[in-house]
């Protein structure tokens, strides 16, 4: 059997038409799977953390909405200055940065996905709690639940055999600068290293191994001892590996000399030098724009940061294209929340809720996901409502980028979360032999009133699981789960309230997604 036979139709394929509403998509063809990528183990994720709460509404501008200009009289981007990139979708002009390549051009070239309305239920407006929620991947409204490790930390610490007693030859994750983020922490220890300057890291890292065995973990002292010991071992071992990659690697384009852009430059050079790191974490601060975020000439802290974001990603992308590693890298932005739709009295914005997320790279299904924000319908605190659960892109990363399974996602996030479909799915020959088949599901009738039937034909026997999710991606209920023999399968659906849903049919672990609309 040919591998291609088993290519997925993916979550995005089925869901895309439903969720994109009136926004026509460029570079988005649900069934164009020509660019699928093999699930190799050299795939890289770059996470860009924008601390402070990025003002998504002044990044992707609702310039066709008169309400926007009413609620932001002094800091709105005038329509004639906003860049129209798609029907009803405008970019802040700072994203068209004067750089070798930038986010605006990446969007035009099909290398950028704009996820409108990313957020979560019962949003926390605290920087710290919300950052913890984003990095841990746990949306817990219980403030007493301690969030202590990260979704990527948990995933990779379980994927590496024998970790942390056995360290892989290259660091799993590299954070540029600072103290290691919660994102890269796991119950088994840190999965990554933090470094600022590879040369210094090398000079100082040599011979740092304490040459001692771990302690028993049954005391506080023993645990902390082991934590420090692991960092010391990693410093010693990885200082040479990183230096070698740094020396071998190169940059083939010109980066500007600002902090974030230089971080992206270093990442490009380490990848170019062959470092087998899976995750890079880079950091930008300053998004907490309570005061003077933008003046009448569209200058100010927020435009500056957007310009740097666009320059950093764009320059990196150009470097990656020239050097030929562009297909192996995708990036995503995370920021703890957006801003309040209404501006405050200081030409700034206070803490808000839903915002905009960027996912970029050759491996993304470019386009705009979700509607422009609804400025007539805020939540009880006067903030934007979310359209997508923030973990949906995480599920994409785990399943469609790193080749994990829905079970991996559920294990890591302790919740069933559907990929948004923003990344192209990796498939493998193994899937075929495991009977992981994607099926062609019909919903009859659609839209459904009191009841409908899901029907598909499957050629292999196996375990079938049918689930219903809300349109934002949160799990609602299991409709059916059983072992079946090959043939035509019919599953009745009834008793569902009016609304838009996502229905999943999973056969031996391969998931097919269909929209379900209920009108009662």
């Amino acid at each position: 059997m040919k591998r291609r036979t088993f290519l997925s139709t993916t979550a995005a394929a089925a869901v895309g038409t439903q969720v994109l509403g009136g926004v026509p998509l460029k570079a988005f063809s649900p069934f164009d799977l020509g660019e699928h990528v093999q699930a190799d183990d050299d795939r890289i994720l770059i996470v860009i953390q924008m601390f402070g709460g990025n003002d998504g509404m002044n990044m992707i501008i609702p310039a066709d909405d008169p309400e926007y200009y009413k609620i932001r009289p002094s800091i709105a981007v005038p329509k004639e200055k906003a860049i129209n990139v798609l029907s009803r979708v405008y970019m802040h002009p700072s994203l068209d940065a004067k750089a070798p390549y930038n986010l605006k051009r990446m969007f035009e070239d099909g290398r950028l996905a704009i996820v409108n309305g990313i957020g979560y239920e019962a949003p926390s407006l605290s920087h710290f709690r919300s950052t913890d929620i984003w990095l841990s991947g746990f949306n817990s409204s219980d403030p007493n639940k301690r969030l202590v490790d990260g979704w990527l930390g948990r995933y990779w610490s379980n994927k590496i055999n024998g970790f942390p007693e056995v360290l892989p030859p290259d660091p799993i994750a590299v954070q540029i600068g600072g103290s290691l983020s919660m994102l890269l922490q796991s119950p088994k220890g840190d999965i990554g290293i933090a470094l600022t300057d590879p040369q210094k890291f090398f000079e100082l890292g040599q011979g740092l191994s304490p040459d001692m065995d771990p302690m028993p973990e049954d005391t506080r002292y023993g645990r902390e001892f082991n934590f420090v010991r692991l960092v010391a071992e990693q410093s010693d071992r990885y200082s040479t590996v990183v230096k070698n990659a740094f020396d071998k690697g190169e940059n083939k384009t010109t980066y500007d000399d600002t902090n974030f852009v230089k971080q992206m430059k270093l990442v490009a050079r380490l990848i170019s030098g062959g470092l087998k790191t899976k995750i890079y974490l880079v950091y930008m601060g300053g998004f907490d724009t309570h005061v003077q975020q933008q003046d009448e000439n569209l200058n100010g802290l927020h435009p500056y940061l957007l310009e740097k974001l666009s320059t950093g990603i764009g320059t990196f992308m150009q470097d990656a294209l020239i050097q030929g590693f562009a297909d192996r890298v995708v990036g995503m932005t995370v920021s703890e929340f957006g801003r309040r739709p209404y501006e405050n009295g200081s030409r700034g914005t206070d803490h808000g809720a839903a915002s905009v997320q960027f996912v970029w790279g050759n491996g993304v299904r470019a386009g705009v996901y979700g509607e422009m924000p609804d400025l007539q319908n805020f939540d009880s605190n006067g903030d934007l409502r979310y359209q997508w659960d923030y973990r949906r892109v995480y599920a994409d990363v785990l399943e469609n980028w790193f080749g994990g399974t829905p079970e991996d996602t559920e294990g890591v996030l302790e919740d069933k979360v559907l990929p948004l479909g923003v990344l192209q799915r990796a498939t493998s020959v193994d899937d075929a032999y495991a009977g992981k088949v994607h099926v062609d599901v019909k919903v009859m009738p659609q839209p459904m009133r009191d009841h409908s039937v899901l029907e598909w034909y499957q050629s292999v026997p196996g375990l079938v699981n049918v689930e219903i999710y809300g349109s934002e991606g949160r799990f609602l209920q299991t409709l059916y789960t059983d072992r079946v023999v090959p043939g035509t399968i019919r599953v009745p659906v009834r008793g569902i309230a009016s609304g838009s849903y996502i229905c999943t049919v999973t056969v031996n672990g391969a998931r097919t997604v269909v929209p379900l609309t209920v009108v009662r």
């Binding site: 601390f51 605290s126 920087h127 710290f128 709690r129 841990s136 746990f138 403030p143 007493n144 639940k145 301690r146 969030l147 202590v148 490790d149 948990r154 954070q175 600072g178 103290s179 290691l180 922490q185 796991s186 119950p187 840190d190 290293i193 933090a194 890291f201 100082l204 890292g205 740092l208 304490p210 040459d211 001692m212 049954d218 005391t219 506080r220 002292y221 645990r223 902390e224 001892f225 934590f227 420090v228 010991r229 960092v231 990693q234 410093s235 990885y238 601060g285 300053g286 907490d288 309570h290 005061v291 802290l301 405050n344 009295g345 200081s346 700034g348 206070d350 803490h351 605190n381 302790e414």
Partner: protein, 530 residues
């Protein structure tokens, strides 16, 4: 005992995030006073947590005393007074003229060269301030600076943030205010901070005006400084912001400063005089006549703070007690002993939120001295840098650069929540710097200093006892015999025991051996723990 066990079972289930390790074994000891006469190890432990470690000669003087007496001595009654006059950062020495000047020019709107000059000046002053403070910590025989640092890590301000800087003169006044309040009444401290010039500037209070509220400080007052999340609504945040309208920071000579530069003032026209409803309590509207600084300060701002402590006394007491626990006992957020924190919070509340009695209870409790909690803290960069100088008796002249390299910029935490602490203090970025700093200090010990250091230990002539004593001085928990043997062989450079007596007779040989031993110990993971 039953109460503690019951409580434990209740909290354990909800405490930790998914997949984390099981909680650490329970410490049975609680707030009961620790009355055992202090051993040398107890003294080390107390000073590692409440001071910045301790030299051997000072530690020896406390052996056999009661914890209550030593803690009282460290906390102190009296006002330590302001720092010595030449250290007053109200004025700065102009490097060109050597004159003391107030540099109050506003760089905004100035030409680029002037702006860079002013900002460069501030940066220089910030470095001097940092080094001065670290040197003051090094010399502080009590816990004055340690507690000031604790409170400045709680009520955070930053030297550099957004696109601007905290003028160091303002920052110094802020520091002095914290120092004065370090043992006093918490709500009074809260009032002082709320209208402090540096804070009014830092969290946007100066932009918070009637009709144009800025929620920044109102939110953090609740979330980070008093009750923590979960005890107020978003509406309370908005109302707090309204209460706090009208306070203005004074930063530059081209801005109004009715009370003198660097002093907060009140602009009655910018205050929201309407009634406010905060945590279910109404703060009545006021008229133009009683919209004065004095009345608004007492009837609204202080009232706002008093409402927090009246309506949410348990939440606030627990929040502060937990902060102290994390800072002084064990920093792992998933392993806070909630039962102990509750008891400590009850004491705090009973003492009307006076800080000193609460801290005294903490540091004289059996819980604090329990062996299960020793060696569990990761030394912060400041503790590490100041502590090693004290332990080795060697002073570093530019300590702020080392602290900075270890990712703690003095007076400049990463954000308003302060340094996140615990595991964030050690990474592959900072661990090599820590090792480098230890190596540098050890190499900086002169032969004379190294020989004096050796003789600070009572049984220094007995090599086995000496090595044991040095490990106990530098490491928080007794180490295995195998490690002791390894350290002894590092000291003796692999030679037999009797050579120690010979080395002692040759100062350069003894000093070299001593440095080898210290370097071997500094390599151990638990050298980072206290």
């Amino acid at each position: 005992m039953n109460r503690r066990n019951l409580f434990t079972s209740l909290v354990r289930a909800s405490q930790r995030g998914g997949g984390a390790l099981d909680a650490a074994p329970m410490v049975q000891a609680g707030l009961e006073p620790y009355t055992t006469p202090l051993t040398l190890e107890d003294v080390f432990h107390l000073y590692r947590r409440l001071g910045f470690s301790v030299s051997m000669p000072v530690a020896t003087t406390h052996v056999g005393k009661q914890a209550a007496d030593v803690v009282e001595e460290l906390l102190g009654e009296d006002d330590p007074g302001d720092p010595t006059p030449d250290m007053v950062f109200a004025k700065w020495r102009d490097p060109a003229t050597q004159l003391m000047v107030d540099y109050t020019e506003n760089p905004q709107g100035a030409d680029l060269q002037t702006r860079l000059a002013i900002e460069g000046w501030w940066k220089g002053n910030h470095r001097s301030f940092s080094n001065w403070w670290l040197a003051t910590m090094y010399r502080d025989a009590r816990a004055v600076e340690r507690l000031t640092l604790f409170w400045m890590s709680h009520w955070c301000t930053e030297f550099s943030f957004d696109e601007t800087y905290m003028v160091p003169q303002m920052h110094y006044r802020h520091y002095r205010m914290m120092r004065k309040n370090r043992l006093g009444n918490f709500p009074s401290m809260a009032l002082d901070v709320t209208v402090d010039n540096a804070m009014v500037f830092y969290l946007g209070g100066t932009y918070n005006e009637v009709g144009k509220p800025n929620e920044n400080y109102g939110r953090e007052l609740l979330e980070l400084f008093t009750t923590g999340i979960g005890w107020y609504t978003e509406g309370d945040v908005k109302e707090a912001a309204r209460v706090l309208t009208g306070w203005k920071a004074s930063r530059f000579n081209d801005q109004p400063a009715p009370k003198g530069i660097y002093n907060t003032w009140f602009d009655a026209n910018k205050h929201d005089t309407g009634a406010k409803e905060f945590l279910g309590v109404t703060i009545p509207a006021r008229t133009v006549d009683n919209n004065t600084e004095f009345q608004v300060l007492n009837e609204e701002v202080f009232e706002l703070i008093k409402i927090i402590f009246r309506v949410r006394p348990d939440a606030a007491a627990r929040f502060i007690a937990r902060k102290a626990y994390l800072y002084f006992v064990y920093s792992s957020k998933g392993d806070v002993d909630e039962s102990f924190v509750n008891d400590l919070a009850a004491e705090f509340r009973a003492a009307n939120f006076d800080i000193k009695p609460m801290l005294k209870k903490l540091f004289t409790s059996q819980h604090f001295f329990d062996p299960a909690l020793r060696g569990a803290q990761i030394k912060t960069p400041v503790e590490y840098v100041v502590g090693l100088q004290r332990q080795f008796g060697v002073e570093e002249l530019d300590p702020q650069i080392w602290v900075l390299d270890m990712d703690q910029i003095m007076l400049d935490p990463p954000n308003v929540a302060g340094w996140p602490g615990h595991h964030t203090w050690i990474s592959t970025n900072t661990y090599p710097r820590r090792r480098e700093f230890a190596r540098k200090l050890i190499d900086a010990m002169t032969d004379a200093r190294a020989n004096a250091f050796i003789r600070e230990f009572a049984d220094y002539e007995d090599v086995a006892k000496f090595v044991l004593a040095v490990t106990r001085f530098l490491l928080p928990v007794d180490v295995s015999q195998a490690r002791l043997d390894f350290y002894k062989s590092a000291l003796l450079e692999g030679q037999p025991d009797y050579t120690w007596a010979e080395k002692l007779e040759v100062p350069s040989a003894a000093a070299r051996a001593m440095r080898e031993l210290l370097k071997a110990i500094a390599k151990a993971p638990d050298f980072q723990l206290c």
